[in-house]
């Protein structure tokens, strides 16, 4: 068992998150992964945008930066470029990363800059009270989609894969041991890495769509997800109502800061 208090700013507790919210599970998973790797707190910089999930940096004793809505990856790019030795982790919501921040998300993936982005995907805008998000499934209700969302939802992991990320994985707060491993691998990957975590928001999403308590919603994850390995064995028609979890992409591509440093070294040798 790790000593979480070593990483938490205890004076900032209790958390603002609602009872039954999955965000705390993701936070602990991130801390376990960092502890396992053994990075010191001074080596880690955590950056977020705005939203419930983006409050995470306030609770952890790293170098922390709570930016403007959607811009976390852009700020993180500056931190990483100015101090490449820092391990820069972005924590963000589905709305933060892929609605207002969609442009930064795809271009950081394309650049393949060495950041790890953990996306807390709760299918809704939690902080502002349950408005529709780019990941709200068709037909599900939101405060700005009272008749059910008409818009097809983003596959936000697929977006990162297509844009050039080195490592993309999807996990859930139900499969928490797997989640620890996915985050650990993402942190250790050189290049742009993404872990999309499905996490329940019983308050702004579950209640409006009658999905039960946080526990019910986590149980739903167990029943509606399937690992990449299992999915590979099944015909596509049996996967229609299933969300695939696990490592979706793990490739080696040239990393941006390494390429930039090589350019500097080259110019200075001349």
């Amino acid at each position: 068992m790790i000593d979480y208090t070593k990483y938490l700013r205890m004076s900032k507790l209790p958390l603002i998150w609602c009872a039954g919210c999955g965000n705390g599970i993701v936070l602990k998973s991130i801390l376990r992964a960092i502890d396992k790797i053994g990075w010191s707190k001074d080596q880690v910089c955590m950056v977020s945008g705005i939203g419930c999930s983006s409050r995470t940096p306030g609770y952890v004793d790293f170098n922390t930066l709570h930016t403007t809505h959607g811009r976390a990856i852009a700020f993180a790019t500056g931190v990483k470029m100015a101090k490449p030795e820092l391990h820069v982790i972005v924590v963000t919501g589905d709305g933060d990363a892929t609605a207002i921040g969609g442009n930064h998300y795809i271009h950081a993936a394309r650049r393949n800059i060495d950041l790890t982005v953990v996306i807390f995907n709760n299918n809704i805008y939690g902080m502002t009270g349950g408005q529709v998000s780019p990941t709200t499934p068709v037909g599900m209700k939101a405060s700005t989609a009272p008749y059910g969302s008409l818009e097809p939802s983003f596959n936000i992991s697929g977006l990162a894969q297509a844009a050039g990320a080195s490592f993309v994985a999807r996990g859930t707060v139900y499969h928490v041991f797997q989640l620890d491993k996915l985050i650990e691998r993402a942190l250790l990957k050189r290049g742009f890495s993404v872990v999309e975590v499905l996490t329940p928001c019983p308050t702004a999403y579950g209640r409006r769509n009658r999905l039960g308590t946080g526990v019910d919603m986590i149980r739903w994850q167990k029943e509606h997800t399937i690992s990449v390995q299992e999915a590979a064995k099944l015909p596509p028609e049996q996967l229609n109502d299933k969300i695939v979890t696990g490592v979706l992409t793990d490739v080696d591509r040239p990393e941006y800061m390494e390429a930039y440093q090589a350019l500097i070294d080259n110019l200075r040798r001349k």
Partner: protein
């Protein structure tokens, strides 16, 4: 890089001088998004920065560029971005963040006509008010306004020094003429250039307060990754940097953010005077328009009209005391500018009806020629 000693004589544009001034001030990070008439600044720095071990990145948009600049500054870099009109509008959200979180950085705005995409290749001075009030919320800002290529070099260095000294974003308001005019300049030797570095904490990390109330209202600043772990947010925060809803703390913060600049206005404000000793008509102009105003004042003198020029190098904080002093000495003021009267309005407010304030404005994409200002001087002299 080694080079021969002796004065560095070159022919360069204002955009060149801005890039060189930034490097002389210690620039180590630039993020931008191309837009006319500022693009050359990014182009030059994409070439020059990696040569000196600095970093350049062309981001996906201006908002991202401003965000990256703030991130880099928090990690210890001297950071800058450059843009024009519409791009400046996009940056405003994160300029506000830099003001709130007290992150030193320089934002260059080579103005172009607006509203909207307006006039990409023609001169304008329409962003004076955007520089002051473009962000939401209430904070002071520093904006500098060069009128020549050499002055662009000097004011770019000064912009960095003020940013570092006051832990604040500083805006360099250029215009298309200064940005693109070629002039012979003699640049100072590196050892003649005064470079200010941000005030670092001298306490142990566990005692560090990133937003400490100090004598001069400017908190010392640590960089990420140096053993001082701290939290930065755009929310109202207390001395520890963590969000607060306590009215007392909020009030203290907002007043300090304003005060740290307003109380040091005498150290920041800078104006140049020409032929004002015995002047009866005072001309106020800045940026490229001040070049025409100088000529107009000389021509007026040849005709026996005692005119003089007051040229603000700093537009924000506004040189209100200097304007009031001018109103004590002259019987009329003419304000010439490439907009509908953004600075004229401030001058009127500053002189408070003591003398009449006349306006010379042009908004058709053409520069104000000396004759137009001379004409106004003659009219007032009659």
């Amino acid at each position: 890089m080694q080079r021969e000693k002796g004065p560095r004589v070159e022919v360069m544009t204002g955009n060149d001088a801005c890039a060189e001034g930034a490097l002389a001030a210690g620039l180590s990070f630039f993020a931008g998004y191309p837009i006319t008439p500022s693009s050359e600044i990014a182009e030059i720095l994409s070439y020059r920065l990696p040569q000196v071990g600095g970093k350049f990145i062309q981001m996906e948009d201006e908002i991202g560029a401003m965000g990256a600049v703030i991130g880099a500054s928090l990690a210890g870099a001297k950071a800058m971005t450059a843009t024009s009109g519409p791009g400046f509008s996009l940056k405003q959200e994160n300029i506000g963040f830099a003001a709130m979180a007290e992150v030193p950085c320089v934002v260059v705005d080579v103005q172009r006509g607006g509203p909207s995409t307006g006039l990409p290749t023609l001169p304008s001075q329409m962003d004076v008010m955007q520089a002051r009030w473009g962000t939401h919320g209430d904070h002071e800002i520093i904006a500098l306004c060069p009128y020549s290529v050499r002055e662009t070099f000097d004011l770019t260095v000064r912009a960095f020094n003020l940013a570092e000294r006051y832990r604040t974003p500083v805006i360099l308001l250029m215009d298309e003429i200064v940005a693109h005019v070629n002039e012979k300049v003699i640049l100072p030797e590196p050892d003649e250039i005064e470079v200010y570095e941000r005030k670092l904490p001298n306490c142990p990390p566990e005692e560090f307060l990133p937003y400490k109330f100090t004598e001069d209202d400017i908190p010392p600043m640590a960089s990420y990754g140096t053993g001082y772990r701290f939290h930065v947010t755009g929310l109202c925060h207390d001395e520890t940097g963590f969000p607060t809803n306590d009215p007392v703390q909020i009030d203290r913060l907002i007043r300090r953010l304003n005060r740290k600049i307003s109380r040091h206005r005498d150290d920041i404000v800078q104006v140049a005077e020409e032929q004002l000793e015995d002047a009866e008509i005072g001309v106020v102009a800045y940026g490229a328009t001040a070049r025409a105003a100088r000529q107009a004042v000389r021509l007026a003198r040849q005709e026996g009209i005692p005119a003089g020029l007051l040229r603000p190098l700093v537009l924000w904080p506004f040189p209100d005391k200097e304007m009031r002093a001018l109103a004590e000495r002259v019987s009329a003021i003419i304000v010439a500018e490439l907009n509908m009267g953004q600075v004229a309005h401030e001058v009127e407010w500053a002189v408070c009806g003591k003398v009449p304030v006349h306006r010379v404005n042009r908004v058709d994409g053409e520069p104000i020629p000396p004759e137009l200002i001379l004409h106004a001087i003659r009219e007032v002299a009659r």
